[in-house]
Amino acid sequence: MIQFINTILIGFTSGAIYALMAMAIVLVWRSTRVINFAQAGLALASAYIGYQVVQSISNYWVALIIAMFAGAALSALIEIAFMRLLLKHTSSGPIASVAPIIATLGLLGIIKAGIAMIWGGQYVVVKPPLSNTGFSIGTHTLVFSPMKLAIVISVASLVLVFSLIFQKTNIGLALRASAFAPEIARLAGVKVDLVRTLGWALSGAAGAVAGLLLTSNGNGSFSPESMEFSLLLISGFIAAVIGGLESLVGAVIGGLVLGLVTSFVLMYISGSLFFIAPFVVLLIVLFIRPQGIIGVKVGRRA
């Protein structure tokens, strides 16, 4: 019984982090129709910025917020200085569908190299601000720790803020309209280019928080070549696809489903399946519901 509860709580925590990464991928996809593989690099760069802030002011939570804004700024900068030009020059022909993806992979390499130049290639440590020793229930000790609880609360707050922005504000309305029907949005007077940059900025913010929380879910150490960040990218991407790629709600559900399934596979089947489990989940969803859990089949389109 205790193992079952532990499995759920671990899965829920890592699922929450995947959900943030999935949101980051969905936000970029919705604003520019690009799958941004450089997202892993942005998350890593944001984690390093968080590290730098913790070094100088030793407050993890302030660092998390600064890293979030830095991630947003970096992401917006990439959209303005790089993607906008690229998409303009590769807007038609067979290259149109491939060029942006290859370009984001290239960017990933550039960002990692830049990080290695600034901070060096060795591991750095951001000490998790809360204990990673599990809560106790009677004589049992859970795996769920104060740090994991803080991670879940942070993710939940960010998701709440994002959904308020999207559903209740004028900016959210502009973001949604530009995502679903850019031409109609322009005809209605929405400055779609600006809204796209904003979409990338929100994505960068979500990715940054995912990056720093990811390190704190472990022992807090990371390097430019950390496997965890590649896994975060893959898990986030798979979660986004499971969720239908268009929907933020879908991204959150996709992330949680993926986190829970992987956790159960690890605990009850075999730890060696850790790298395979996400892909199996992806394949199963694609075979049964290719449009994703939330996605609707594209029927009539305005």
């Binding site: 004028n170 309305l173 502009a174 949604r176 309209a177 679903f180 029907a181 031409e183 109609i184 949005a185 322009r186 005809l187 209605a188 007077g189 929405v190 400055k191 779609v192 009539r300 389109r301 305005a302």
Partner: protein
């Protein structure tokens, strides 16, 4: 002020879609642009609203040349375009679609007034404010598209085939509403239509396009009476 289009030419790659088109629409008048499929009607409107880039010509409106600048800038100068195929955002609610048209407006009280006006004009939209736009019927979607355009407080309204895919009774209703908008709000309207007879009946003036060139122009009544126009575009 009127809309004065002069020497408008648009190329789609190697194909000349619009060739040296000139016409004038007086303020508060409804001009129909009719012609067969591929005559360049939609391209003409898309050029006027800034969606398509043009090769040559001018389109003078309130001391601006509409052939320069982006659609989002045109909207702020009082030009609203309802693009072909019921231009609503399917994933948004009816109310959100309406609000979308007024997002750029600074005066929110006026925007709210525009919304009441749009709902008064199309009461069916008022009953369905919280429904998603893709649950509406074809006619209701067209009403919503026009309502959204009106939310931007336009003085020049560009309508692309509002009758497309609608039942005859609904078409009649939409056309009457368009005429009503011109008469009551004093808007200048350019109405592109495949349904030539329906459009000519409500229009003040008309431009007949053939393969990207102006084939005939004049008052709508004269064109209806013109045997050549009747034979080529009205089918009798």
């Amino acid at each position: 002020m009127s809309l004065i289009v002069h020497g408008l030419t648009v190329d789609h790659g190697a194909i000349r879609a619009i060739n040296d088109v000139s016409f004038t629409v007086d303020k508060g008048k409804l001009a129909a642009v009719i012609g067969a499929n591929g005559a360049g009607k939609s391209t003409l409107l898309r050029a006027l609203s800034g969606l398509n880039s043009t090769t040559a010509g001018t389109a003078e409106w309130r001391n601006h040349n509409l052939l320069h600048g982006k659609p989002e800038a045109h909207v702020r100068k009082g030009v609203s375009h309802v693009s072909e195929g019921k231009s609503v955002v399917a994933e948004l609610t009816v109310e959100e679609n309406l609000d979308l048209g007024a997002l750029w407006r600074r005066n929110k009280r006026e925007a709210t007034e525009s919304k009441s006006q749009a709902i008064e004009l199309f009461p069916r939209l008022g009953e369905r404010l919280l429904q998603r736009a893709d649950t509406l019927s074809g006619g209701e979607r067209q009403m919503l598209a026009i309502g959204r355009a009106l939310m931007s407080k336009p003085e020049l309204l560009l309508l692309d085939e509002p009758s497309l895919g609608l039942a005859p009774l609904v078409i009649e209703q939409i056309f009457q509403t368009i005429r009503g908008i011109v008469d009551s709000m004093g808007l200048t309207v350019v109405l592109v239509e495949q349904n030539a007879m329906g459009a000519l009946k409500i229009a003040d003036t008309a431009v007949v396009l053939n393969l990207g060139r102006v084939a005939a122009t004049g008052s709508a009544a004269d064109l209806i009476a013109d045997p050549a126009v009747r034979a080529a575009y009205l089918g009798y």
